[in-house]
Amino acid sequence: MSPKPLDYETLNENVKKVAYAVRGELYLRASELQKEGKKIIFTNVGNPHALGQKPLTFPRQVVALCQAPFLLDDPNVGILFPADAIARAKHYLSLTSGGLGAYSDSRGLPGIRKEVAEFIERRDGYPSDPELIYLTDGASKGVMQILNTLIRNEKDGILVPVPQYPLYSAAISLFAARMKGITVRAMVIINPGNPTGQCLSEANLNELLKFCFQENLVLLADEVYQQNIYQDERPFISARKILLDMGPPIGKEVQLVSFHTVSKGYWGECGQRGGYFEMTNIPAKTVDEIYKVASVSLSPNVPGQIFMGLMVNPPKPGDISYLRFVAESKAILESLKRRAHIMTDGFNSCRNVVCNFTEGAMYSFPQIRLPPRAIEAAKSAGKAPDVFYCLKLLEATGISTVPGSGFGQKEGVFHLRTTILPAEEDMPAIMTSFKKFNDEFMEQYEDYRGYSRM
């Protein structure tokens, strides 16, 4: 029997190597259980609206009007939509050439890229060039594009945080990689961190940029959670700001690509697929090549671009919708902060569980100190220990998490990632349910020979 054209054996090896735990084994099992009628709490992915967070009103009004521009001609439109939403819809439609249904410039609509540049300038205090800002169908597509540009072959390496970003172990990894003949091209930072939530300080960013300068690395700064900050000690500072603060030579030499999205923050508009990347100190010819690849996909989706415009240029004081917009935004952010605390405290109250506070982003990443007998049981079941734990957690409570092995962790140390996104009123019950499962699990598998160590 001759092999069929697309048998597993003849697939692209790189595809086979890909693993994406966020929608991997645990998620698939959770979906199966859901089909069987079990109530599942999906905390595997940062997907706020799926857990009841409501969309902000103003952007939805604007995009609905852009979607159906004939409404703007109707004399009664003012009954259904506030005047500033109507004005804003007209503004965005005027930035397009043909409305939402036309391919835009492959980099995104120039008018919206200008709004993004203005946002960046207000945020950081340095001017930003709209020509170096590319809108993308979600930040993920932008990340793929940049990595594809950087990586020539398997001898090219990218430093990524595992799972949090400690500078010193990055240095170690870099030197080790080089000794193995790998050319390390770039370093990724995620700030605020995913899954760990930590926010980098100005000093941290300073050191990182110096490191990149010395080691000739591109810095890829994933800043998609920049609106999600739950403490005051370390507010969000962009990598670009620190870079430019440093002045020449570093400020002019280090190559930086910064990523942002409408999927996170207090917007949570994951389904729109709106994002951008901004390039700093990238030579013009390289930018041309990046443009060329972007052009093959023609253009990012226009509604997503409008969401981005609205996010970087929200209602201002005095606008009709301003108060409502601020109230909605504040409510979401303050609730996220409270939930970050509830979850951290809840995990820390559990046996053999230690959890750092979620300083930012949307996740909690408790360490689960699994007793040796649990680890043995996992081995017998053919599962990684944290996968074993998470599957048991899922079956017992319906809480669907992502095992820490999906993010990388030190050998012998286990975590799970959950989001802080379940509705606030559901949180106490969820944490109680978790505690009950965990403490019973530990009871079942504990002995006194020792635990997985920190």
Partner: protein, 516 residues
Amino acid sequence: MRRFATERAKRLLLASRSPPSAFLCSSPAAAMDPAAGVVTVDTINPKVLKCEYAVRGEIVSHAQRLQQELQNKPGFHPFDEILYCNIGNPQSLGQPPVTFFREVLALCDHPPLLDKSETHALFSADAIARAWQILDVIPGRATGAYSHSQGIKGLRDAIAAGIADRDGFPANPDDIFLTDGASPAVHMMMQLLTRSEKDGILCPIPQYPLYSASIALHGGSLVPYYLDESTGWGLEISELKKQLEDARSKGITVRALVVINPGNPTGQVLAEENQREIVNFCKNQGLVLLADEVYQENIYVDDKKFNSFKKITRSMGYGDDDIPLVSFQSVSKGYYGECGKRGGYMEVTGFNAEVREQIYKVASVNLCSNISGQILASLVMNPPNVGDESYESFSAEKNAILSSLARRAKALEDAFNSLEGVTCNKAEGAMYLFPRLRLPQKAISAAKAVNAAPDAFYARRLLDATGIVVVPGSGFGQVPGTWHVRCTILPQEDKIPAIISRLKAFHEAFMEEFHD
């Protein structure tokens, strides 16, 4: 041990002058010279350098510069506006969107509208009903949430039903992958199929350059098969066989066959018999059939009909186990022309479970396609029916657009055929004309002198003289020594006479200048 290593690393990093790397490694020269920078044209992925996409290439950049000049220096050029005939982007040239679709999308974008009584005055009743139907299949009615990575199940059910309606054969919702336009789906399949440059994909020449670009980006080989211009861009199995054998003799494993039906840039609609031959060819040769069917609703001749390859394979008695077939559809074309929405899907049949898992996995890394585009894809495959409140106005809009496209296709085809040395095959479907230019030797030499392909030279001159932007045929591939340009049929009907007269005037002058 780890702490010791950390301390050592700390000391290395904080060491005053020399970079730590100097202690430990022999990096390539570029890494040692901070001024060189990591990301230069010399150090990026060579596949990126290799890839080309003429539809938004050089000539379009020049057109954009001219457009700027028109704004800043009016009267400087012999034309008032740039007419972009380079890209299948109907709504950018004034084609209106389909009202019913936009009504439903607006309601889904802002569901609180459905709770207001005033909404009934502004939206049709069936649009409201459809919006409710759609929201009911979206978990939590949350259109802002990531969906299932293949797309919302209820929408896939609707699309499968639409496919079954169209073909008369059932479709499985689990075979459907909703994507941000058809292009990402094509990329996914190329990624799956390409292990190295020894993997080849048979592509029509001329072809829509997404295929050549995607193959280049994924490091594979494009195996060309030539469509026969003298027989209306006919697809001959003998040509397929010849190219396949040629490739194999060079050590290339040919994995798949791309067929674009209706064709882009060529516009031909395949005859059923031809399609059956193609199916058998793929089956006998062990090839995946990649059927780009995004222009399925753009048919301008009465003697041809669109038949999906899915329908053809099933009508031949081939089932899911017999032939791997991937069919691509998009919301960007047809009569809806919703390019900016990025909606589309691929229907994947004939693959085993293991492979389907891999396809799912690749889709999952991007989480999901944009929800609004998913909704639109379900609407396109399930438009208003006879009896629905919007049916008549919907049909009127649809027929107006399609009949206008047919008229414009004919008018431009005749215009090109009236030009000296130019022949143009009929656009039976799609949105393009691909006239062949027989350029005098003097023109060809002039092109060489400025290092341009003759068709690029012609296109540039056309742009500079008239503001009309077309894409040189070399961007699509053509028989060596022949020259073409691709021109869309999309400018609004009232602009067509002026375009035709300017085109004629330019061509006459050009031929006069370069006559032998």
